[in-house]
Symmetry: C2
Subunit: 406 residues, 2 copies
Amino acid sequence: MPVNLSVFEDFNTIDGIKIGTTNAGVKQTSRPDIVVFELADTATTAGIFTENAFCAAPVQISKHHLANAQTRYLIINTGNANAGTGAGGYEDAIEICQAVAQAKGVALEQVLPFSTGVIGERLPMGKILPAIPKALEQTQANIWYDASRGIMTTDTQPKGTSTQFEFDGQTISISGISKGAGMIKPNMATMLGFIATDAPVAKDILQEICSELGNKSFNRISIDGDTSTNDSCMLIASGCAKVEKLVNKQQPLYAVLKAELEKVFLYLAHAIVRDGEGATKFVAIDVCHCENSKEALRIAYTVAHSPLVKTALFASDANWGRILAAVGRSGVRDMNVDAINIYLDDVCIVEKGARAESYTEEAGAAVMKQSELCVRIDMGRGEAGETVWTTDLSHDYVSINADYRS
Amino acid sequence: MPVNLSVFEDFNTIDGIKIGTTNAGVKQTSRPDIVVFELADTATTAGIFTENAFCAAPVQISKHHLANAQTRYLIINTGNANAGTGAGGYEDAIEICQAVAQAKGVALEQVLPFSTGVIGERLPMGKILPAIPKALEQTQANIWYDASRGIMTTDTQPKGTSTQFEFDGQTISISGISKGAGMIKPNMATMLGFIATDAPVAKDILQEICSELGNKSFNRISIDGDTSTNDSCMLIASGCAKVEKLVNKQQPLYAVLKAELEKVFLYLAHAIVRDGEGATKFVAIDVCHCENSKEALRIAYTVAHSPLVKTALFASDANWGRILAAVGRSGVRDMNVDAINIYLDDVCIVEKGARAESYTEEAGAAVMKQSELCVRIDMGRGEAGETVWTTDLSHDYVSINADYRS
């Protein structure tokens, strides 16, 4: 049961983008497991990718193709990650790109492949190759919801959102989908994200926006501290809206578009945490007054990954000693424990490094019982701060990961 | 149910060391919760302590006292860690030392205090102070087993071992006990260890041995990646055996004694992992052919702490993709994934960064079903290696930590 996450179906169409889906039988499911995005020739595309050293073949290829050509097709399969598959896996991913390129008369480099699912098994090419023409034949503008279902793996529900805003007398639309539920840690989550707008944006500006917003959203979520081999988030600007093309950051469209995209990036990233494997709580870890961002992130992730903190969250036990112990072992140099205050929402639990005098178990327990809460850690040593979002550690997490071959 | 760990009762007496135990009612248990060690005036003592910035009051005091006086008494309570308790908690620990010092006519600094249990609550001094004389009155030489029970917290069984060896016509004895079952990560585990020999050893040599062996054993175990505020391991040499005192490392006794002590340190550290909260498996993560030890440890702990690897171990699922993904995200620079081989015991699962051609699910599953196994990661880039020991992540881990206020 995801934490306060509802299924979204009412996507805005993005002119210049068509989507096709089909069920190739890669995954044992009635949902689509192949999704194709077809982009207008006015489109620009940007992306961020996993930093795992074992990045999967499709990630290597997508990075290379994105850098060297104008992207026209994205093809995604679920059920198999095509990771840890060596040279053969690389050839399989190229063959998929070739199939799309030949069918549509574009260059190989104009196709980006994405895979998610089991690691270490070769793709069932006999199922995927015949499915590609089917997906390409049926592309439509309005099936974002189908696509959101088509990229699911252990997700309990599809994730998507959509928004519109007025600019220069025109309506600009944004739609986005994401997937991921476990193996979530920067950089990035085991996640795929596909976000598109019809605004026209130069590729370099689009890449800057994608990197900045991805860093604030998908790279700030953690479910279990594991980073996948396949994470990718793509941002597409179809260029079909009739406004002046965004080519430098001084144009008024820049700030407006970035602010709207930021909401979409955050929504899609938070949706992954809300649907975290076995999650019963959605928790922000907000670390402030640090010497620098790196230090703040180090503390935030140490707390976010602590199994003892996470099981206490699951138990709704305001066990502030575990939070304090996690902060203490985060490895920050010259930590002055007497300067540290810790809060659960507005309840001060640790004051000057020890249990706050005003603290009562009742007040702590009341916050811990909420399905959403913030653990705020004030280090009292500088001006930098960072927030990461995470979940608790429940029995269901163990069940899901002990039973599922991901 | 600990993994292949039996209860040890047949300790060798260590001349020059007496032990007293009593039940003060700090912890809701019929076991003793106060343990006192009384050391002969010929004894030397060494110790290693937690590196958590929030180290508890008794740890601060023990470090200080150990450095400044000859230790004559160790007093341990379970049920309450006296951590995160501020200045009041510090005064409580001093008051306990004073009670022992006054009763036995030694200096305050000759008493070392130890506490383990709940963080953040003041010690119940009204229960502890009256219990101290009782524990001191009943000291005996042969109640190591009682002491092993008296230091337990979430441990499912007491942990201890004992050995003897002949040197220079004399019998030298070693006995040791440890506790700890969760919040286990260097440096160090949530653990207490007390190891004693009757050999006479100069304090500086004893400290060197304690640091070196502690680093190879208690600092190489991890159950959940959490490091406690109270970890301490003490090594005592009573000086009562009739052999020449060990004052430099060239004496023949040095190598012999260290080798025997190493077995005891490793046994006691492994016992903590075997009794890890919810553990169903005892797993060595052996990382070899790294550029340096730091790199090897980084990889070993990333794998050992991965919830996805740990749940796969619990499920006996040879999900080598999760191991490979954990290695890949360990943050080692310029990792050449094509040089990496990974083994489950002798079964090669990853060869040159991809699934080994010789690998079969059956061979992997056979190893994963064992209650003890080794995950060997050959990075193929240097000569350094490190081993850490860990457990799986089971439903019982979640139950224990969601229910128990530790």
